[in-house]
């Protein structure tokens, strides 16, 4: 079973009396544990596609499956509950709650799950250790650098052990070195935890780390590339398939050059 399956996704908006097709006929499947980069220039539909995949929005047409759940068909309340348990989000602007400490920000999604306080603390501590944030646990976001804030955002996305993590331009506000560090951390977590990660970016340096790239142009899949992933570490022997499957009818394409960043 695919971790994420998009079938003929379309999303239309009415803007100033005319219809804008933000996403058109997008279909693909991602295997569990995949790290997929959605690339494309601004306005190409990356964020809209992520929103549809994460159940933040409903498609005008088509279906989104996460595991065995058809997210697009769920009621708003059920989608909310589903997100809380199954989807993690990393945002472009970190979007940490400024009055909470790093540890409290990470613990935030856990308040929605039926866990004991001890279990919450254990999960938060473990994740902060994993991400090298242990010493910053009691710092507020304003006391953290951009990279550290994004790591906290990543920890918040991972703390519920979701099946899917969606990251929308997670490195947009970071310098190139910090951006690479953050992506490497994401890559490491993806490998270690077998969490399926889909990130939207127009940073060419990032897509090289992904198992699969989907290039969007004007809401349409322009190109698609998959590469065989490195073997899972021995501790992850029970991890799912390390290859990205391709939805029938959506051909794999050779690795794209940086021109992915434009629709030319």
């Amino acid at each position: 079973m695919s971790a994420v399956l998009a079938i003929g996704l379309r999303k239309q908006f009415a803007v100033a009396g005319r219809t804008v097709h933000a996403v058109r006929d997008v279909s693909f499947a991602l295997a569990p544990g995949a790290l997929c980069a959605i690339v494309g220039p601004s306005g190409s539909g990356k964020s809209t596609l992520l929103a549809l995949l994460g159940g933040l929005d409903v498609p005008t047409w088509g279906e989104v499956w996460i595991g065995a759940a058809n997210v697009g068909r769920m009621s708003a309340a059920r989608r909310t509950r589903f997100r809380a348990a199954n989807v993690g989000f990393v945002f472009q602007a970190h979007n940490l709650v400024p009055v909470l400490t790093a540890a409290e920000n990470v613990a935030l999604p856990l308040t929605l799950l039926p866990l004991s306080a001890r279990e919450r603390a254990r999960r938060v501590d473990a994740l902060l250790d994993d991400l090298g944030l242990h010493d910053l646990a009691h710092h507020r976001p304003a006391e953290l650098s951009g990279g550290q804030q994004q790591r906290v955002g990543l920890a918040r996305a991972l703390v519920t052990a979701p099946a899917l993590v969606l990251a929308d331009e997670p490195t947009a506000h970071l310098d190139s070195r910090t951006a690479r560090d953050v992506v490497e951390v994401m890559r490491a977590m993806n490998r270690r935890r077998a969490t399926t990660i889909v990130l939207a970016t127009h940073d060419v340096a990032i897509d090289a780390l992904a198992d699969e790239q989907i290039a969007l142009c004007d809401g349409v899949v322009a190109r698609r590339h998959e590469r065989r992933r490195e073997p899972w570490p021995s501790s992850s022997s029970d991890s799912p398939s390390a290859t990205c499957s391709v939805t029938p009818g959506v051909p794999s394409l050779p690795p794209p050059p940086s021109r992915w960043l434009s629709c030319s």
Partner: protein, 381 residues
């Protein structure tokens, strides 16, 4: 609001005190035929009187009530007072000097002195307005003329012992106080017009009234018990008027508070649109987010009410310590120094209004914050 309510409470308290201790007392025993309108004009010599059985009958009840402060028997009559060429109508009250002095603690003697009991000829205390119109001073002698209960014209010369001001113009231009014995001589009455009673603890009024009524009914005594507020209906009118003013004031304050907090909450919600969008994305449902804002509003309301009520209490204490010089109320001759009471009920109401207004004001903005799809909210950030 705490200060306004405290100021009004003081005003009501002051009005009650001025009514009770200007001679009305907390309650009065009156003849059955008498009514609460003591100001109506009656024919000379046509009075309802309490028989001696009444005072004897209720004495045990009054003696048994530990809260009774003073029991002042009175004998009222009307007539003409003559000083030289001037003759004016007056309302006379025969009083027990000792008991009456306790009951008239707010009556001001502007000249002369209270009854001493050692006077060689009958003395009278005259209201300042009447004294002014008669042109009399203490030690002057005036003639009191009336019709007795037996229908005979009677007269007595009395010396002006003092001139008093009750503060009520209408009262001071027509009242003459004389000892009960002088009043009996003039009226040839064996009974009384009434008995005024003051209590040390006004909260015991209902108990004392109840006990007296039971005693009167049990002994088939022809008398009725009237509370001070029945005898001074103006008090209820004043309270009603001021309470309406207070209600209007509270309504205006509440609207201002709601608008103010709504503005604050709108800003708070607007500033936190990104935060709300993220929380919704993380799986926080609309109910939780609305509850979060309502909880915040409650906290703001509690904080605001604590500050407001605290400031109000301090202001009340400061006003009471310093005092505010007030002009004489309509119909009165004296101004007074106003204070502001700390009224627990007003504090609770003010706090409840602050918290309620904050919650009410937060409903709209918090509902707006959860409108639409999460993706739209995130895009807006």
């Amino acid at each position: 609001m705490t200060v306004a309510a405290g100021f009004l409470d003081f005003t009501f308290w002051g009005l009650r005190q001025s009514i009770v201790y200007a001679g009305v007392g907390h309650l009065q025993l009156l003849p059955v035929g008498d009514d609460a309108d003591r100001t109506r004009t009656r024919g000379l010599g046509t009075y309802d009187r309490l028989g001696s059985d009444v005072t004897d009958g209720v004495r045990a009840v009054l003696d048994a009530a530990p809260t009774v402060e003073a029991v002042a028997p009175r004998l009222e009559f009307q007539g003409l007072v003559s000083a030289g060429p001037r003759t004016l109508a007056f309302a006379g009250i025969g009083v027990d000097p000792a008991a009456e002095s306790r009951l008239r603690s707010l009556t001001l003697l502007t000249a002369g002195e209270w009854f001493t009991g050692a006077e060689r000829m009958p003395h009278a205390l005259v209201g300042s307005g009447l004294a002014h119109r008669l042109g009399v001073q203490p030690r002057d002698v005036v003639s009191l003329i009336t019709y007795s209960d037996r229908g005979r014209m009677t007269a007595a010369d009395v010396q002006i012992g003092g001139i008093f001001e009750s503060g009520v113009v209408e009262y001071d231009v027509r009242t003459v106080l004389v000892p009960l014995s002088t009043a009996r001589d003039l009226t040839e009455a064996t009974g009384l017009s009434g008995v005024a009673v003051t209590l040390r603890d006004p909260s015991a009024l209902d108990d004392v009234v109840g006990a007296l009524q039971r005693r009167l009914a049990g002994a088939s005594i022809q008398a009725r018990v009237a509370r001070w507020d029945e005898l001074s209906p103006v008090y209820a009118s004043v309270v009603r008027l001021y309470q309406w003013i207070l209600r209007v004031f509270v309504t205006i304050v509440t609207v201002v508070v709601v608008l103010g907090v709504a503005n604050t909450m709108s800003m708070a919600v607007f500033e936190r649109t990104p935060e709300v969008a993220v929380l919704r994305a993380l799986g926080f449902g609309p109910g939780r987010i609305v509850a979060m804002f309502l909880l915040e509003a409650t906290t703001i309301g509690l904080g605001g009410s604590a500050i407001g009520v605290g400031s109000g209490i301090l202001a009340c204490l400061a006003i009471s310590a310093v005092g505010i010089e007030m002009p004489p109320p309509p119909g009165h001759t004296h101004g007074y120094v106003a204070a502001a009471h700390v009224v627990p009920r007003a504090i609770v109401v003010a706090a409840a209004i602050a918290v309620g207004a904050a919650i009410l004001a937060a409903v709209g903005p918090s509902l707006r914050s959860i409108r639409g799809e999460v993706a739209d909210a995130l895009r807006a950030t």
